[in-house]
């Protein structure tokens, strides 16, 4: 029968590590100059302020990422997994030899670098990778973009009160998923080169001034972790029975306020669900991949009208169970959440994953199993 595929752990996907950890110091002038030079070899992406909020965008020539941002409104997952992305194209023009035959769209998978990605968002990329890069099937759109990307992380010295990364398998100086981790020392940046990809980028940027100040990273890390005031407990999730958690009595209460909008799933760096749509203009058609959300009823509705997750409560439960239980059981790689706090801050009705996680983690089935007696 459908045997459980070997569970790959997040660690097995780590990019090639450089042998000796290299530290370089980059004064702020060299930082800007280096990025400008590196832009010849890499497409650069980074946080910039647009209207009221920061977003990750392709940087214009000479444009610098704004590293003073606390966190972006939407996660940078869209750089590998755009909200709307063309996959295939075709012609319906029957006078053409190749009509109705689908072809891959031409894509630009040239090297690019995300400058200033937060460690939480980088870790999230590895969780998403578990979905798009499996032993059996690989999503070429996501994976090609991922492989073309160098992740230059910015250590997070000013976490928000809603950040709970340190208890979500991550942290403000976390290195998983990054090729280089940069910390701000005021006058200069100190960069830790973590992978060959990171080294190649440092070379392209001409950042070579060595540093021995490994202690600075440790101190920065300790200080930043001390500023994380929010936490979740996840120690019981794996051992709690899936069906009993599914039948727990608190779901109606958790879901009551929910509007079933897509804010949480769209802003989440780890949510990966998508829809496939065809669009035709004249005789030219494309098949595209669009973000989708388990909050939307049409996500699961059958053609017959039957919907396996017909009610708001079922859909809200699906989101939290997927993140905090199904994913935990399936991959043995922790929870499907990096503690970035975006959904907490942006939910229009203040449904807080930390509260739900607490309910789930402290849930004792026997408390409610009166029927068993």
């Amino acid at each position: 029968m459908a045997g459980k595929a070997a569970s790959p752990s997040v660690n097995s996907f780590k990019a090639v590590k450089v042998n000796a950890m290299t530290l370089v110091t980059i004064d702020k002038k060299s930082w800007a100059a280096g990025l400008t030079t590196a832009a010849d070899a890499y497409g650069l992406f980074g946080p910039v302020k647009e209207k009221d909020y920061h977003q990750f965008k392709a940087l214009e020539k000479g444009e610098m990422p704004d590293l003073n941002m606390v966190n972006t409104r939407l996660s940078p997952k869209s750089l590998l997994f755009p909200q709307s992305e063309e996959m295939l194209e075709y012609s319906l023009d029957e006078s053409r030899e190749d009509h109705h035959i689908m072809k891959e769209v031409a894509r630009d998978d040239s090297p690019r670098a995300i400058i200033g990605i937060r460690p939480c968002d980088a870790k999230a990329t590895l969780l998403v990778k578990l979905n798009f890069d499996t032993p059996d099937v690989k999503d070429p759109y996501w994976l090609n973009a991922y492989e073309a990307t160098t992740f230059i992380g910015m250590a997070c010295d000013t976490p928000l009160s809603t950040c709970f990364c340190t208890t979500a398998g991550c942290g403000p100086y976390h290195e998983e998923g990054l090729d280089m981790l940069v910390m701000d020392q005021g006058e200069a940046y100190l960069a830790k080169i973590l992978t060959e990809k990171g080294k190649a980028f440092a070379d392209a940027a001409g950042w070579k001034a060595p540093s021995e100040d490994a202690a600075a990273f440790d101190a920065g890390k300790k200080a930043a972790e001390g500023r994380i005031v929010s936490s979740v407990k996840t120690d019981n999730l794996a051992d709690t029975d899936l069906l009993e958690l599914h039948a727990a009595p608190f779901w109606d209460d958790v879901a009551f306020a929910c509007l079933n909008c897509g804010t949480c799933t769209f802003s989440c760096p780890t949510c990966w669900c998508f829809d496939i749509q065809d669009e035709v203009h004249g005789k030219a058609g494309v098949r595209m991949k669009n973000w989708d959300s388990c909050m939307f009823p049409i996500f699961t509705v059958h053609t017959t009208g039957h919907n396996p997750r017909d009610t708001k409560t079922q859909r809200v439960r699906q989101r939290f169970m997927h993140k905090l239980k199904y994913f935990v059981d399936k991959y043995d790689a922790g929870i499907m959440c990096v503690g970035c706090g975006r959904c907490v801050r942006q939910c229009p009705v203040n449904i807080d994953i930390r509260r739900v996680c607490e309910l789930m983690n402290s849930f004792k089935p026997e408390d409610t199993c009166a029927v068993q007696g």
Partner: protein, 52 residues
């Protein structure tokens, strides 16, 4: 529609009875001329889908 940036003369609404042939001709002529004067519509025309 006009409030959103569609030209005023592009959208017409008339009430023409099946008995009002002259009015019908008049309206069609007026609308055609007005729209011709505006030129091809530039808005709410979806070309190939933009992706992001």
């Amino acid at each position: 529609m006009e409030y959103m940036g569609i030209e005023r003369d592009r959208l017409h609404m008339s009430w023409v009875s099946s008995a009002e042939a002259t009015k019908f001709i008049d309206v069609v002529t007026r609308v055609t001329e007005a729209v011709r004067a505006l030129g091809p519509n530039q808005h709410f025309v979806k070309q190939k889908a933009k992706v992001a």
